[in-house]
Amino acid sequence: MAFSTGSGRLPFIFLILIILIMPVLSFAQADSGDTANSYFRIERINALVAMILFSVVILIYTRWAKAGKDLFIRKINGLDEVEEAVGRATEMGKPVLFVPGLQEIDEIETIAGISILGRVARITARYETPLLVPVRYPMVLAAGQEVVQQAYIEEGKADSYNKDIVRYVAGEQFAFTATVNGFMMRERPATNIYMGAFFAESLLLAETGNAAGSIQIAGTAQPAQLPFFIAACDYTLMGEELYAASAYLSREPLLLGGLKGQDWMKVLIIILILLGIILVSAEVSDWYLSMFESV
């Protein structure tokens, strides 16, 4: 089907639905004048406008990328080192440990971690390096097994795939940490990759990996955990770099287009912040600030 390619009908269906239906409903509600009993939450119109703008920018860049336009993406050292780190594990004959965070599959950070797992699994399959992926939730287990199996099949190493590469170890945060730390100290993996949402266990994992002498690459969007990973890991992906990883590693033009669109939104936000600074300093900012109030 056309939309399964990700560049066919689906983006247009989405845009038409968002751009036409929602504002029409919002105007219908505005006519009625009764905001408390309205269908549409008019107080969230700012979020709708931002979302439409964001979607349009990303889709424009995706189209350009599809048309073959050259898109520059800055170098991300942590991601460039992934293949090198797996290569090191291969040379040492030791396993690679991949932890896709400690959140459920409905968290976007976990999905980003699972996406990177697919790329890492391809490399380990290619080099026939042992891979271990401990997970905390059964749904992440199912998704992880699917992704790793697909990677092994695509590398022509379906026979090397073992269902227990991705394994459920514990549902409790610190029981999970204790299991993974125990594995690190017993098996001494050459490479540890942490990609996803981490909390208090981030430093427990990263420090143990450091003590075990592993090369460590971490990535998380949790600002409170970043200093711990930076202190204990060799490379750290910060915030948005985690979400950019799948596009960066695959180099697929359609995914890179999305990254460029994201950059333009950042430019717009910087302009809005600068404008806000000027208006607040001039004490004429009430109307401007009210545009960004969230409900």
Partner: protein, 219 residues
């Protein structure tokens, strides 16, 4: 088919959640869809729990059987799983030791073994922080020296004795640290990371919804 169905499911699920965000749950069916969809997630999660149990038993049992490295720990895991689960699934009417209520075996194991072990793991974090800080705060270059000075000031400011010491140097010094380091530089950098991460998350969600990003399916 293997790709098309998940792409359609991702699009519909994401679109329903979007609609639910913009519609009033009091007056509109669309606004009430969010808890409905989230309860589906819980139901699917319940089914997959069995996968987790099978995985943990299979992995640990095979290690114990082969007597591979650390098999004793795996045996302890298996014993713990059954010791917690079996008394919990028997009906309370047979004995007050069954079920998960107060005074049950499950409750006792949780309060006197599981919970203290979790607290112990968490408490160990203090030692890990000390060793990581020792490595991070070595004054190897200008940036690391700046980090060392800033961290020393903030740590002193956070403890009462340090705060008293800083006040002895200059009465307003603790307030300046709070204003310029914590609410100034620290807050600005954190917000920069948060804005970037939020945009990244939104862009990735959009790519998944539209079927552009399929790497989470191993494609």
């Amino acid at each position: 088919m293997k790709t098309t169905v998940p792409v359609i499911a991702a699009f519909l699920s994401g679109f329903v959640m979007l609609l639910a965000f913009f519609f009033n749950p009091e007056t509109s069916f669309l606004g009430r869809l969010e808890p409905e969809v989230l309860s589906w997630v819980t139901i699917v999660g319940g089914f997959t729990l069995l996968l987790g149990v099978v995985s943990i038993i299979r992995v640990n049992y095979s290690s114990v059987k082969r007597k591979s490295s650390g098999w004793g720990y795996k045996l302890a895991t298996l014993v713990s799983i059954f010791a917690m689960a079996i008394p919990a699934i028997f009906p309370v009417r047979w004995s007050s030791l069954f079920g998960t209520g107060t005074g049950s075996i499950y409750d006792w194991l949780f309060n006197y073994i599981d919970s203290p072990m979790m607290s112990t793991m968490f408490a160990m974090l203090a030692f890990y922080i000390a060793s990581a800080a020792f490595r991070a705060f070595r004054a190897r270059n200008a940036e690391a020296t700046l980090l060392l000075i800033t961290a020393t000031l903030v740590m002193l400011w956070r403890v009462p004795m340090g705060e008293a010491l800083l006040q002895g140097i200059h009465g307003n010094l603790p307030n300046l640290i709070n204003t310029y380091i914590m609410n100034g530089a620290n807050m600005a950098v954190q917000r920069g990371i948060i804005i970037g991460a939020a945009l990244g998350a939104a862009a990735m969600s959009l790519r998944i919804m539209l079927g552009i990003e399929r790497t989470y399916m191993g494609k």
